[in-house]
Amino acid sequence: MRIATSVLLLLPLAHPLLALKAHDFKTCSQSAFCRRGRALAERAPTAGSSWHSPYTIVPSSVALSSSASSFTSSVKSELYPDINFELEVRIHEDGVVRVRMDEVKGLRKRYDEASSWALVREPSLKNVKDVKWVKGKNEVKGVYDDVEVRVQYQPLKVSLWKGGREEVVLNGKELLHMEHFRVKEEKKEPETAEGGAEQAEQAVLQAPARPTAWFEGEEEDGLWAESFSTWTDQKPKGPESLSLDIHFPGHANVYGIPQHASPLSLPTTTGPSPHYTDPYRLYNLDVFEYLADSPMSLYGSIPFLHAHSAESTVGIFNAIASETWIDVSHPTEDSTLTHWVSESGILDVFLLPGPTPEDVFKQYARLTGTSAMPAHWALGYHQCRWNYISSEDVRSVQKRFDEDDFPLDVLWLDIEYSEEHKYFIWDAKNFPDPVAMVNDVAALGRKMVVIVDPHLKRVSTYPVYEKAKELDVLVKGRDGKEEYEGWCWSGSSAWVDFFHPGSWDWWKSLFRLTDGKDKDSWRWVDSTENVHIWNDMNEPSVFNGPEITMPKDNVHYGGWEHRDIHNINGMLFQNLTSQAITTRGSTPKRPFVLSRSFYAGSQRLSAIWTGDNMGSWEHMAVGIPMVLSNGIAGMTFAGADVGGFFGNPDPEMLVRWYQVGIFAPFFRAHAHIDTKRREPYLLEEPHKSIVRDVIRLRYSLLSVWYTSFRRANADGVPILRPHWVMFPKDKKGFAIDDQYFIGDSGLLVKPVTKPGATETQVYIPEDQVYYDYFTYNAYRGSAAGKTITVSSPLEKIPLFIRGGSIVPTRARPRRSSPLMKKDPFTLTVALSQAELATGELYLDDGESFDHQKGDLVWRKFDAWTLKAAKRTRMTLKSSDMTKSGQTVVDGSLVAPGAYRADNAYAKSVQSVRVEKLVILGLPKKPTTVIVQGVAQKEGWTWEGGVAADGKKEGGASVLVIKNPNLKIVDDWLVEVEF
């Protein structure tokens, strides 16, 4: 105790910056329903064999549907025999199983719309012919492919079997509990009449034990009103929480349920010596100066979990929008138990059968959609600060970037651009010429991103607020009548209720670049097509609300309480803004809308970032698993602020952070208003030139990123691939979360996140050659996995090309990515040990939706080697990989019949050359280089070195073919004989 106190006393002194206000946020023990859920879970093992689930299926009620693969049945709880529940099990076309349970004919209705926001469309069900239903005495079994869904009647249990193995079990540990709606019982005051005292005492003593106590506990714990700090949640609907155990008998690793600042492979929260003592929490919150290792809630929530073993992978999507706590433990070394406790909403769980990680990604993408195809420029470098203070400041920052030749695509404006934080309304004193300013930025092919937060200043001079009030689309207070008033940047504020359909068209109209039908309605005229939007504070953040967010008893459209929809709220705001940006001009353009809050499905909209991180090495490091974790939960367009939002990183930290940042899908530097300016041009040498080279590296790899985004857009596989995704059978890689692969490119990166590092250990998971990206030094892994040590001084990023990859790059530095449009390509062919290689390149106009009509270029590159008696020949081939009508997980890649190789986009880039071919790992000097059938006497150079095949390490052999006079859009062949 004394130690603890002294630590507490010392900490604030030693680290005045590390100032999370932990008391602002709840722990499980401060949240009544979490307390109840955890108590239930603790009661079960102590009860021993007498423990059983009170929920049973009424066998006679089981009704198979004739038209589709599903059944419904009544469920009863022995605790409350008068309450009715209904269970529904559906089998989707792709084998995903959906399990729904709701209270029916109750006092009220549970919130059941979370899935309607999360799902991209209503999933189609398996053809009834393809499922065989078997009714047993105590179970009903659905059999399809090699999968069995077993639904046990008593006690209720749903399990998914695959290849004869039990993969997922719902209520296997019998912790399912759906608290039903009830009428609040008025507590009877003990009679105080004379002579009654004794009686009253007796009455208390004789109060009968609650019959449900064995399951629910002796005490009623916080069923109705509940206080936290100075706030009281009135909970007019009473208890309605949901407890559910999901057991993975054969999977020792679980990943997902972002967003938490925690390792990718989720550590335990219960059981013997758990890593964390609180459960993982999903409740979107604006956490000021969050901790770098914690299961606490952050800004976004995706209730999607992967369970993985060397044998199989399965996924769980729990479509719930209310506050949810998840305990993770390992009952045995090879199994994982998760216990989910949610405050409200129906049970709506999707079981994704896998069996590979890739299958799970595709199954999840079919449910919630793939990530949107971003605008190409959005993958460039974003420079942000709270705040660039005037239009002159913006121009001068841009100028300094150009003077020092740093590539830059986007300049950002935080909240101070607006007059009194009335978003849209420019502060005319500092931004007298917003459109001219944007045009000056756009003159170099750049964009601006301007912040629009969801809180509206409550003044009659603010047309946005006035209109929202007039339309009656503001979030209501607990009485459901008056608009809710809270505090945020703009002072006294109100929030648009984006659940209200009446807000949708109006919100979109605000962004319209030309007058619409309603000419008198206010719209943002001081904007252009080059302005995109940042939606911050959309958890929502409310400075004077409980846990810095909205009171849970606020009322939204349809009478739903804020508690029911909280985790979806932020996504809806980003959704409407994305739609607004897409449709504001004469032709639809891809929107860029950065959001801080997110939910399952947010990937369909645009980007998110990991929120207000701190300028510390710990935060730099944890940013990597956070971005990986978002990615495997679908939210692949994500990044952490380079440099850290708070604090003043030293030059070494800043350099390393840029090296981390360029390997995230979203690459933005940002800084708090209290920090020193730290734009890269302010660095001294050598740091300045190192950062310039780092940002240029990002730009040279933009084609790799864009192609990976297209891949993710097509099939839902994340852009950043952790080891367990790439090598699902390699147990040594299951917990690795500090190195990863980029899409299918074969690039493996391990950013350095430690001060003073000169060497870095990199895990090579396979018996394959890996080439250092910069030096072409060849390293070898082994089938059992091997850790190598590479030199990593400040200017060096450990970056490798996996043998067997062909990497397309554009080496010419430009000021912004649109200026690279006509630049030639370099193809680096990194031969595998089998002397093969493959790669792809996707291109389109980068901003319109014409790619959906077939205006695109998607090339496939293949290299192979044929050994003949006299000579060996390596062939490199470029071919078209787009097939018209090709289906992908989320519809079709291109409308059927629409694709033509000579489409308008392809024509616009038909002159773009391949300027250089670099072939790594040929065994000996070529005798002949043949381009399109013509032998080249000159124009290639050879540097001897290690061959791809074999066991040697060291500098790889390099063949450079200069200016082969090939076009990137064409089919061609290059042959090398030796």
Binding site: I389, S390, E392, D393, S396, K399, R400, E403, D405, K429, A443, L444, G445, W487, C488, W489, G491, F543, N544, I673, D674, T675, K676, R677, R696, A811, R812, P813, R814, R815, L819, M820, K821, K822, D823, P824, E915, K916, K962, N963
Partner: protein, 556 residues
């Protein structure tokens, strides 16, 4: 300003070329460097400029980067970090970075459009050249007008120099006089003291004296700690005032709100501020009103007077007071001692030894007894007083001399008022800018302030600390005088001490043009002054000076 610098780096005057037979200059090559771009004689090869390799001459500008140094692609974007030469006929030639070549944009720096394939960018050099020359002419005009004003500053400095020199020579004489007098009086004091040192030592054993000494020590230490505490309180008050003014009520941080309310209550401001005296808030709101001095309370001056009293003199006076019951002897003997004041210096030793003899004899004879020492105490006390007066007078004169000498030195110091003293005229000249919410003031070489136009509350933004501290400039250069730093202003809540960077350029008026706060509590003022309107000759001079310095450094 930045752009001008970089433009200066990249923009080179077009030089007339010698009229030999012109070789074909590859695209993007500066004609001055044309000779570097010819094949190795007798071959079709070309050597990379860093000597790192030989390539076919045909590979120069073939849109592929062959050389490590990128020198083979002066006219394309194939090599990173290269420079492309635009002739810009009709304007001034320029070199642009290779990242701008063939990027589809028409660079204003390359007005002839030669960096893009033909037909992409029109040649607008004539137009741009005209604008450029007009702008340059306007700038020259401003510079000439400003330079005239500046010459009056220089004349002022010359006048000031004359004044200081005169003052210094007068002060030199005064110091000499005062020094001689001090020496004389000191001599008297020493003799007087020597005479009585033993007696004094004995008297100092007096418990009363010791007690007095102790009390004095205690008083000193109390005063020190009192001063320290007072300083601390002032600092804390400043912090709390800053907090009160600067806290963001939007954060809803209860701890901060409580602190602010507590402070308002404590400083009795909550009501005062709201009800009346918004104008008086300027000064008094910064500090809680000082409690009125109670009658019995000692003022600091009084205490200091007591503390600084010469204890030895007091001891002697005390002796005298106790010993003398009447008046006469004191007066008489004092006359005897004071005589020495009237005796010419030359005779003084004789007189003193005679007096010593007389006194000791008389004492032996019992004619003069103990009271004599009392009398001598009084003499010592007087001698002390006159010495300290003389010493003070000397110090005053010396200080005046020193400050005038320093002023003279600073007048023409490179890091003071400039080589020609032109900035002296501007000392304490205050420039003001009203930005709507605040009025900003900087008094040159003094301090900078921010005053709220709403309630008049004012913030100290810092005091003058130096000219441009950037390592890229040094005293004597125009860039050095183009920036002043004011720092150690009032502490910011959750931020640093306020500071100002004042960037100045040539203009016909001393004026502030804009104010901004690019980083929290670090202000940027931009203004103009004729003091920076250097004529071309001076620019050259400054360059030569710099070059010379450089050379000398290298010689060393």
């Amino acid at each position: 300003m930045y752009s001008k610098l970089s433009l200066a780096c990249l923009t080179l005057p077009v030089l007339t070329l010698p009229v030999y037979s012109k070789p074909v200059i590859p695209v993007g090559v500066d004609p001055q460097r044309a000779s570097l771009y010819s094949p190795i004689p007798g071959t079709a090869l070309w050597k990379c400029l860093d000597g790192s390799g030989e390539i076919p001459f045909s590979a120069v500008n073939d849109d592929f980067c062959d050389c490590k140094d990128g020198s083979d692609e002066p006219g394309t974007s194939a090599c990173a970090n290269g420079l492309f030469y635009c002739a810009n006929e009709g304007h001034v030639s320029a070199k642009i970075r290779s990242s701008r070549v063939n990027d589809g944009l028409c660079e204003p720096e390359c007005c002839d459009g030669s960096d893009e394939p033909s037909g992409v960018c029109p040649n607008i050099c004539e137009e741009i050249g005209k604008e450029y020359r007009a702008a340059a002419e306007a700038e020259q005009k401003t510079r000439r007008t400003g330079a005239k004003i500046r010459s009056t500053y220089i004349a002022f400095a010359q006048k000031e120099k004359k004044r200081l020199e005169d003052a210094i020579s007068a002060l030199n004489i005064e110091v000499a006089e005062k020094r001689a007098n001090e020496a004389r009086v000191k001599d008297i004091l020493e003799r007087t003291e020597a005479l009585d040192a033993a007696a004094l030592a004995h008297k100092k054993e007096s418990p009363l004296y010791r007690h007095l000494e102790d009390k004095n020590d205690i008083l000193s230490s109390l005063l020190t700690s009192h001063a320290e505490l007072k300083e601390r309180i002032t600092a804390l008050e400043a912090v709390l005032d800053g907090l009160k003014r600067g806290y963001n009520p939007n954060y809803q941080d209860m701890a901060v709100l409580e602190a602010v309310r507590g402070w308002e209550a404590l400083s009795g401001e909550a009501d005062k501020d709201k009800d009346k005296e918004p104008a008086a808030a300027d000064d008094s709101s910064a500090k809680p009103a000082e409690p009125p001095v109670e009658e019995e309370e000692w003022t600091l001056d009084q205490i200091n007077e007591i503390k600084n009293k010469d204890v030895v003199s007091l001891l002697l006076e005390h002796e005298k007071h106790i010993g003398s019951s009447g008046i006469t002897t004191e007066q008489a003997t004092s006359l005897l001692y004071s005589l020495e004041l009237y005796i010419p210096d030359a005779f003084l030793p004789i007189y003193q030894s005679a007096r010593e003899w007389l006194v000791s004899t008389l004492s032996l004879l019992g004619v003069v007894t103990t009271p004599a020492s009392t009398d001598s105490s009084s003499e010592i006390s007087k001698a002390r007083t006159s010495h300290s007066l003389a010493l003070n007078a000397l110090h005053n004169a010396e200080n005046s001399l020193k400050s005038e000498q320093e002023a003279l030195e600073k007048l023409f110091a490179l890091d003071g008022f400039g080589k020609k003293g032109e900035w002296k005229k501007l000392k304490d000249v205050c420039l003001e800018k009203d930005t709507g919410e605040y009025t900003y003031t900087v008094c040159l070489f003094g301090s900078a302030t921010q005053k709220s136009n709403r309630d008049g509350a004012s913030n100290n933004l810092g005091r003058y600390s130096s000219w441009n501290t950037s390592p890229s400039t040094s005293p004597g250069e125009l860039a050095y005088y183009s920036r002043q730093i004011y720092d150690h202003g009032a502490q910011c809540w959750n931020g640093p001490q306020r500071s100002v960077t004042l960037d100045l350029s040539c203009g016909t008026e001393n004026a502030l043009l804009s104010i901004s706060e690019p980083e929290k509590c670090e202000y940027s003022f931009v203004g103009t002054t004729p003091a920076l309107c250097w004529l071309d000759g001076e620019m050259e001079e400054a360059k030569t000076v710099k070059a010379e310095k450089h050379r000398r450094k290298e010689d060393l």
